[in-house]
Amino acid sequence: MATSSTHTRGSGGELPASFLEDAPQTRVEAVEALPMERVNPPRAFFRGALSDVGDILKFRELLNQLVRKELKVKYKDSVLGFFWTLVRPMTQLIIYYLAFTIFLGNQQPAYAIFIFSGLVVWGLFTDIVGGCTGSIVGNGGLLKKTYFPREIFPLAVVGAALVNFLLQMVVLFAAIGVTAVFTENSVVLSSDLALVPLALLVCLIWGLALGLFLAAATVYFRDLQHLIEIVLLALFWLVPIVYPVVLPINNFAKTGHDFLLQVYLANPMLNVVAAFQRAFYTMAPQYTFGGNLWGRLAVLALIGLGVLWLAQRYFARAQGDFAQEL
């Protein structure tokens, strides 16, 4: 086999030479000037994240397109379209409001604002984690045909979730405005509003970290998609969204479970939600978290970055085999 290929190789090489005679020299030179790049180079475990981020930045335009795609495709063919984005949190809001104020007799003032300020950011978190989990499996069609950094898919989910979040924020602001004008509850612009960007950052970091890990793991373990829905449902009640955080704090203190209280408070999303409540629910500050949220959020952001880095490294390891596993 080897001998036959060597002596015929020459005859095969004659044709391109004749083709190239009239090829524009500029293109050949242009190609020569391009660097020879290795496809899917293996990256050092520790420093690889930086070059991966560089790759992702090169595909900004694609990220933009995919975010649009996520938003368009989700409500394509539906009559109400984008309005559905608002329906789910609004329904949740109404259910909890009815259940807690009418059936359970909650006396908390402007309780709807309290729920909604937690619900918007919790919604962002679940959208990111839930959406990312299926993002690689669900985009198999694109993934098997083309190459680009696979992190773009989870990132597109984050982008789309952010757009939905911003819409809900508009509703929240409107609701706060209505409360301020039509009820005797006081709406105060406090310095706590500055907590919002930091809390949002913590939410995004942790959401993306979990999302990246779950997106890659789901490819190998499809049950995660269903599992994660249930976990998020349980997690919802571990975060003080429908009940004020002061209740569990008091209860833990009463029973003397100080360690359990610290574990409960360490939850990143608890701190994010608490920050949102402190910023937007100014009607009855005694119901919101009184601790040092600045410090807590800053620490959580730093830890979150470490977790995000680990998740990205896991993702980068796993992504080489995505196309064949799908």
């Binding site: 086999m1 036959s4 290929s5 015929t8 190789r9 005859s11 095969g12 090489g13 044709l15 391109p16 083709f19 190239l20 009239d22 090829a23 524009p24 293109r27 050949v28 190609v31 020569e32 391009l34 660097p35 020879m36 790049e37 290795r38 496809v39 899917n40 180079p41 090169k58 595909f59 335009e61 694609l62 933009n64 397109q65 995919l66 649009r68 795609k69 368009k72 495709v73 394509k76 069609g141 694109l142 993934l143 098997k144 045909k145 083309t146 190459y147 680009f148 190998y220 373990f221 499809r222 049950d223 080489g320 085999d321 196309a323 064949q324």
Partner: protein, 411 residues
Amino acid sequence: MTTVIRVSDVSKKFSLNANKSLKERLVNARSTQQHKTEFWALRNIDLEIASGTSLGLIGHNGSGKSTLLKVIGGILSPTEGLVERRGRLAALLELGAGFHGDLTGRENVYLNASILGLSRADTDKYFDAIVDFSGIEEFLDTQVKFYSSGMYVRLAFAVAVHVDPEILLIDEVLSVGDEAFQRKCLEKIRSFMREGRTIVFVTHALDLVRDLCARAVLLDHGVMQYDGAPTQAIRMIRDTWNEAAEVEAEAAAARAESAPAGAPTYTPMRISDVVITDGDGNPKDTFKPGDRFGVECTVTSDKRVSDWAVGIKIENHMDQNCYASNTHLMNLELDPIEGSRRVAFSYGSIPLVDGGYHVSLAAHGVNGPHYARVARIKNFKIVDSEWQDGLVRMPAQVEVRPVETPSLTVR
């Protein structure tokens, strides 16, 4: 010449492990470990592709062609070895090049272009040319999931060739479009080659490889069998096909032999001892175009059949019928048959092009139920020093004359 793609010692291992759900893993916890089958889709592939080359990857189904293309495209990472590339790469893999079914054609053009690394402004610039080339303006705002496969490929191809790629990978997609579009694509591919761009093809259409490619690589079970001139590669792959056909023919012959035992009464004729000859009764299986050629067989009938005929058919490796006739069509009256007769066809010259051929024979009563047929019972090969396309080898004389300018005569 500059190397644009370098594949160095690439191997790719797949593990066939279908159990992905928790239930399956628990139930088959032990068996998954045991039945975890691994196989090498590619084994130590080395390739250097220079700019402006058009390379054809050929091989049987499952030989690793598509895997190699995906590894070059970066869609799969090799288990061992590495791939290096220069410049922008556009890939048309199987059907479609990464379209999202729920988006419209227009949206998909932008999505696809951004995957290939184009900015929105750049895409705007190419947009009209893309739509124009695809020829599906009216369906541009329809979701692509409603597209026919032809429309899908049209759009995918249009995007891929208009984004100014340095390297174009094509995997068996052109066969979907209609003939007019295929011609358009081939035209585009040729102009790509003239411009010094690099094209890597995967296809089963060997004629296309011979037409377009300057170089062909033959893969078999993940191993590179040959790298060089397309004609030689095509010959080699046809040889392996012929081997498969040979086995088939033996099986057919065995069936024909064993037929009499339980054969139903409506086929009392049998064909046996088929030989391909040089026209004078000597067995031969490789011919040059124009050689004398013959086929002999023994026809046996237990009953007396007065009006019988024998048919012969020659097919090429693509199952195209190259020649078929029978003694009835030849207006030959055969003497009534009872028992065995030796029938010999002979031809003064065999005017077929280079390739592998199969012979089928049939014997039957012209007006009766008596019938026997042996499909692809024997194979022969034609080896030609000169490549010609099509079915028939036609020796040509070419003369080039100066064109006489008509002299102006004043009347």
